[in-house]
């Protein structure tokens, strides 16, 4: 079965950005730059697969490619950015995909800027969960850390004033969450049939979403307030059949309102962090609150070795019920450590675990980064699930402990 790997809206927005910019670039381009990276990834699972249909291979290689084109015009005030992303996965066809991470034109005024096209935006301050970060859809198949994002069609205008930065977003079109296919690991017993997605809005994935954000710095405090109205980035799931009559999970996207606050106090070596959301509109759970709060403390230049050691502790609360989109972070504690050697190769380690306060179900993780020479980088990640009882949302993936090695070549 074939289907377009890039969403139509995405393509349209990308094409619009390219066309708008094309003319300007041809005539006025002053500075054009091509860079990017290619990478090979190998995932090694420690246990055999358990769900029907999954590839029995425990070693799963992948290839990734992300070229980046940037051009400036109007004396640097105009910008064109095009960043496609390709993954070719040997195991899971659903993991192989092509996306436009970014494809936009932008104009920078004195204390304002506007952007049109596919953009990428990050909101928030906490480390264990990115609750308030809602503009871009998560590219779930790309990395279990949920930090990879799909390009979002948008028109965005920002004003930067002495009373803070005000941002408005018009988001014409929605990107579905990616999800592993039958062959892939790190999924529920049944895979999600993404192209049978259902929507509360009759406009389906063409619903125009809106968002507004105010962000300000007041001395030691950085604060952000935002509101989002549109298609929930997180789907609920129901049972259904795929085109071959096999049972699958069907994603259902509600129209939601979400208000959020993110706050950080920076007091010496202490970073105190809070993110909270209030969300309305999921069928079956019309309103819930969720929050992450915690701190990061860093011992800089420990014992004059140059090494920085940061300690992180966060509490995660989520008041949603079982009819809302599922989460594993209802009442959890996260603790972790970030270690930076501050050497010429920028060697860094991150270890952490999220533990459920009630049943001690634990998701533990480590990451290590190291540059080799000037243009290579190796990244090692491990993800482990422990103590997961029957009935916990993590139960589906307990056999998917794995170590992942990525080798990047930058150009």
């Amino acid at each position: 079965m074939t289907r377009p790997s890039i969403h139509r809206t995405t393509l349209a927005a990308g094409a619009l950005a390219a066309t708008l910019a094309g003319t300007a670039v041809e005539s006025r381009a002053q500075d054009t730059e091509v860079s990017g990276w290619a990478a090979v990834e190998v995932r090694v699972f420690t246990e055999p697969s358990r769900h029907p249909g999954q590839d029995p291979q425990r070693i799963q290689p992948s290839f990734m490619f992300q070229p980046e084109l940037r051009a400036d015009f109007f004396d640097g005030a105009g910008r064109l950015t095009i960043i496609p992303y390709l993954r070719v996965d040997q195991t899971d066809r659903e993991r192989s995909h092509l996306d436009l991470r970014e494809a936009y034109v932008q104009y920078l005024g004195d204390s304002w800027d506007v952007l049109a096209g596919l953009g990428k935006v990050f909101w928030g301050v906490t480390e264990s969960r990115h609750l308030v970060d809602i503009i871009n859809q998560t590219d779930v198949v790309d990395d279990v850390d949920l930090e990879e994002k799909l390009g979002q069609p948008m028109i965005n205008a920002n004003m930067h004033t002495e009373y803070g930065s005000f941002g408005l977003f018009v988001l014409p079109g929605f990107r579905e969450a990616t999800s592993p296919g039958w062959d892939g690991r790190l999924r529920a017993t049944l895979p999600v049939e993404t192209h049978k997605a259902q929507y509360e809005s009759s406009a389906k994935d063409h619903h125009v979403d809106f968002a507004a954000r105010w962000a300000h710095n007041l001395g030691d405090f950085d604060i952000g307030l935002a509101h989002f109205w549109g298609t929930s980035r997180e789907p609920r799931y129901g049972l259904g059949l795929d085109d071959l009559g096999r049972p699958v999970l069907i994603p259902f996207y509600d129209i939601i309102h979400q208000s959020s606050v993110d706050l950080q106090a920076t007091l010496g070596a202490w970073l105190l962090k809070f993110e909270g959301i209030s969300r309305w509109g999921h069928r079956g759970d019309n309103h819930f609150l969720a929050a992450v709060a915690g701190f990061e403390y860093t011992f800089f230049d420990l014992f004059e070795t140059g090494t920085d050691v940061g300690l992180l502790l966060e509490y995660l609360y989520d008041g949603r019920n079982s009819l809302a989109p599922p989460t594993a972070n209802d009442d959890d504690i996260f603790f972790g450590s970030r270690i930076a050697l501050n050497n010429t190769q920028d060697t860094e380690f991150l270890v952490g675990a999220i533990i459920d306060r009630h049943n001690q179900a634990t998701a533990a993780r480590f990451e290590a980064d190291h540059r080799i020479g000037d243009s290579w980088k190796i990244e090692v990640e491990g993800q482990f699930f422990m103590n997961v009882p029957v009935g916990d949302n993590l139960k589906n993936v307990t056999q998917d402990d794995h170590v992942q090695v990525r080798l990047f070549r930058y150009f």
């Binding site: 910008r79 800027d113 243009s375 930058y410």
Partner: protein
């Protein structure tokens, strides 16, 4: 009348030596630091391209390249941004600093892969800046209030012996500083720095910074083309090369906001 004249004469007699004759080495040091600060005032803003060459004990080199933007702030410390262009894996990573005359500076780090702006702690004074021999403290703007001073002597400048330098000690006021003292060589007429010796917390000789290839920009603002930092304790060194200085480019406060870091190029 006579009494008043005598009184006036006494006041003058008391005042004159204080200014001309009995200036203590501490007062002279502070005066020179203030004069140096005033001499560079009015630059408004400048941009430059930087390149760092990091050398380990064996002479093995690695490089960092970045673009720098600096905005003069008259009633507080300056604001600055640095964005890395090399090595490629950190390309786009940017650091925004609001220097303050008193208290900790404010710093934000932009991580381009996640598009994330992160307010970071600026209490990291002694740590190495991106693996170089420059610490964060070495790169903050040299506000007068950050030190107390003591003038030592005049002598031919290091690097440029045909010029005369004031040599003075300065003692960091910040308790988290990595230094017990610094000895600085400032050229007499233009206040150009030619050398700084750094002494660590145990008062042991740690590093030497020398300044080379000065040029004058916008009539009166001297900037070095090269700064060389040598660590005497580890044998490592870092050269910082500056090119494409441009002054009064029209940058404004609105350009130095954390929410604009993602637009740097």
């Amino acid at each position: 009348m006579t009494k008043r004249l005598i009184a006036a004469a006494l006041v003058l007699a008391a005042a004159v030596p204080t200014f001309a004759l009995a200036e203590t080495p501490e007062e002279k040091g502070l005066r020179i630091a203030k004069e140096a600060d005033v001499s560079d005032a009015g630059f408004a803003d400048f941009t430059a391209n930087g390149k760092m060459i990091l050398r380990n004990k064996q002479g093995k080199e690695s490089t960092r390249e970045f673009k720098g933007w600096t905005l003069e702030v008259s009633d507080d410390g300056d604001k600055s941004m640095n964005m890395f262009t090399e090595p490629r894996d950190v390309k786009g990573t940017a650091l925004l600093t609001w220097n303050h005359k008193q208290g900790d500076d404010d710093q934000w780090l932009y991580l381009p892969v996640l598009k994330r702006v992160k307010r970071i702690s600026s209490s990291n004074k002694t740590g190495s800046y991106v693996g170089s021999e420059f610490s964060y403290e070495d790169l903050t703007s040299p506000e007068v209030e950050k030190y107390t001073y003591k003038w030592l002597r005049e002598e031919p400048c290091p690097v440029k012996p045909e010029l005369t330098c004031n040599v003075m000690e300065r003692y960091p006021t910040d308790k988290e500083s990595g230094y017990s003292k610094q000895i600085a060589w400032l050229e007499k007429e233009t206040y150009r720095g030619y050398k700084v010796d750094y002494y660590d917390r145990k008062d042991t000789f740690l590093k030497t910074l020398t300044f080379h290839d000065y040029n004058k920009y916008a009539d009166k603002h001297w900037r070095p083309g090269k700064m060389m930092m040598v660590n005497h304790q580890t044998g490592k060194s870092t050269d910082m090369l500056w090119t494409d200085y441009q002054f009064k480019t029209g940058l404004s406060d609105g350009d130095f906001k954390s929410t604009r870091l993602k637009n740097l190029r």
